[in-house]
């Protein structure tokens, strides 16, 4: 008899989760290479014995919009953006590899290319790329080859190639915070769709208008559910009053 209220409650708790997802998207609207997330609702069917099936709402999964964000030129020679699918490979302190699309790199004190948090950027051979301290200018070409002008700017020496990994199933990659992703998949043998753009950064792909309209939609749906719970409550109230009168007579 309470099932209408419980169905609406399941709706409200799922909407609460949806709000958290939107809040995270909005909070990261200026985070480099951030991918917006969406939430999928599903029905959870409960078939009581001898009764009608009841469809509850459940927040089944979140998915990531993996489209490339706008690419903004910065003019910084170690700002790299990936046009197309693919990830930079970085090594975290425990020696394992993580993947990121946020390419705002710099050199660490040993001259190795590293992320803002100090994780080493790996080459296609899985080793850090070392830039000697006599280098004036670093050039990164579309396929990720890093070269530098040495000998007073006369010769171009190849220092390595920034490794780009792409995966069959990007939804399978788990975000770990700090712009890093982890996955159990092995990278695909060839990457043909990714182009590295030097002097640019990929921005967040959050579209503010969409998030704001989603926000309104979630809020109104929540209010509707609350309204219906109130009405359902009133209906029960009426039923109890009327039925109580009938038995008293």
């Amino acid at each position: 008899m309470l099932s209408p209220s419980l169905v609406l409650l399941s709706n409200q708790s799922a909407l609460g989760q949806a709000l958290d997802i939107i809040a995270n998207n909005v909070a990261n609207s200026n985070t480099g290479a951030f991918k917006r997330e969406g939430i999928e609702f599903d029905t959870l069917v409960n078939q009581p014995t001898g009764g009608q099936p009841i469809n509850f709402v459940t927040d089944r999964s979140t998915y990531r919009d993996t489209s490339t964000g706008p690419i903004q030129p910065t003019g910084n020679q170690l700002d790299l953006a990936i046009e197309g699918s693919g990830y930079f490979q970085v090594q975290i302190p425990d020696g394992t590899t993580r993947y990121t699309r946020s390419g705002s790199f710099h050199l660490n004190e040993q001259g190795e290319i590293a992320t803002q948090s100090g994780q080493l950027v790996l080459s296609d051979g899985g080793a850090p790329i070392i830039v000697p301290d006599t280098v004036r200018e670093i050039t990164v070409t579309g396929d990720g080859t890093v070269s530098a002008r040495v000998n007073n700017g006369v010769d171009l020496a190849v220092l390595g190639k920034v490794g780009i990994a792409s995966f069959a199933n990007e939804q399978q990659m788990q975000p770990q915070g700090n712009g890093l992703y982890t996955t159990t998949q092995t990278p695909l043998p060839t990457v043909d769709k990714a182009i590295v753009i030097q002097g640019s950064l990929e921005q967040s792909n959050v579209k503010p208008i969409n998030e704001m309209t989603d926000l309104i939609r979630v809020q109104r749906a929540y209010e509707q559910a609350a309204n219906m719970i109130s009405q359902e409550n009133q209906r029960l109230d009426n039923a109890i009053t009327v039925l109580a009168k009938t038995t008293a007579n």
């Binding site: 958290d20 909005v26 998915y63 830039v131 301290d133 004036r136 975000p175 915070g177």
Partner: protein
């Protein structure tokens, strides 16, 4: 409801962004100033259903999980070390570095600081000093009898002494470079200090190896690009507003929940 605290992290991050942008704009005409950029990173994710976990006894796995991110955090304020424009002042003691490198400055406590601001002066004993009176390393003294000073691209300081035909070499300016100049610690007064992140300085003569050349009679202006700073400011303000809108909505939803008839 996590939305309140998630949106709060967003507002805090944008506030820092505005602070960094305002410092850039305030230093628009500071000699040798390098603009900074705030880098953001997403915070941890809370996994309610882990992607890839087993969903049945027959080994099927979840194609996507349920994870809620917990907001944003500022990761770094990154100094952009691009070359500023050279502005001609015709003052013989104004020196700009065209290319990589920093002048070395002796601080009163004996330690060395680094600067790109080359508006140098002479102190009471004729030594080359910064606008704050700190000595340039290596020390160069200009005799009182010098009528003009010439600094060439390689940093040699020459003076014409009254009564002498040939110019006299007073000394050689040296520059320092770092493997990661973004890792230098800015201490104000246009000065930077070495840190573990910047690496140890490599010194050398201007116009050799990686070092830039000296341009006498010019100063390096700040590299702040005012148009991009203003557009960044607008973006930051709007992002701040959107985060406050999320807080507002979360608040209204909580209020809706509170007002439900019992």
């Amino acid at each position: 409801m996590r939305a309140l605290s998630i949106a709060a992290t967003g507002m805090e991050a944008q506030q820092l962004n505005v602070e960094v942008i305002s410092n850039n704009i305030a230093n628009l005409s500071t000699t040798g100033f390098k603009s900074s950029r705030t880098e953001f990173q997403d915070l941890l994710y809370q996994n309610m259903r882990s992607v890839g976990s087993q969903s049945s006894d027959t080994g099927t796995i979840l194609p996507s999980g349920l994870a809620v991110g917990l907001g944003v955090m500022p990761a770094a304020t990154y100094r952009i070390n691009s070359q500023g424009n050279l502005s001609v002042t015709s003052n013989p003691l104004d020196m700009a570095i065209n290319g990589l490198g920093y002048f070395q400055v002796q601080l009163p406590d004996g330690t060395t600081a680094y600067t790109r601001s080359g508006s140098l002066q002479l102190n009471q004993t004729g030594q080359l000093v910064t606008a704050d009176g700190y000595q340039i390393i290596p020390s160069i003294t200009v005799p009182a009898t010098a009528t003009s000073i010439t600094v060439n691209a390689s940093g040699q300081v020459l003076a014409t002494i009254s009564g002498q035909v040939n110019q006299q070499t007073l000394g050689q300016l040296q520059l320092a470079s770092f493997i990661d100049p973004a890792g230098l610690d800015a201490i104000g007064q246009n000065l930077l200090k070495e840190t573990q992140a910047s690496g140890t300085p490599v010194t050398g003569n201007p116009n050799t190896n990686q070092f830039g050349s000296i341009v006498q009679g010019s100063i390096e202006t700040s590299n702040v690009d005012i148009v991009s700073q203003i557009t960044d400011l607008i973006t930051a303000q709007r992002a701040y507003e959107m985060n406050s809108k999320v807080i507002n909505t979360a608040d209204q939803m909580l209020s809706t929940a509170n007002q439900m008839k019992s």
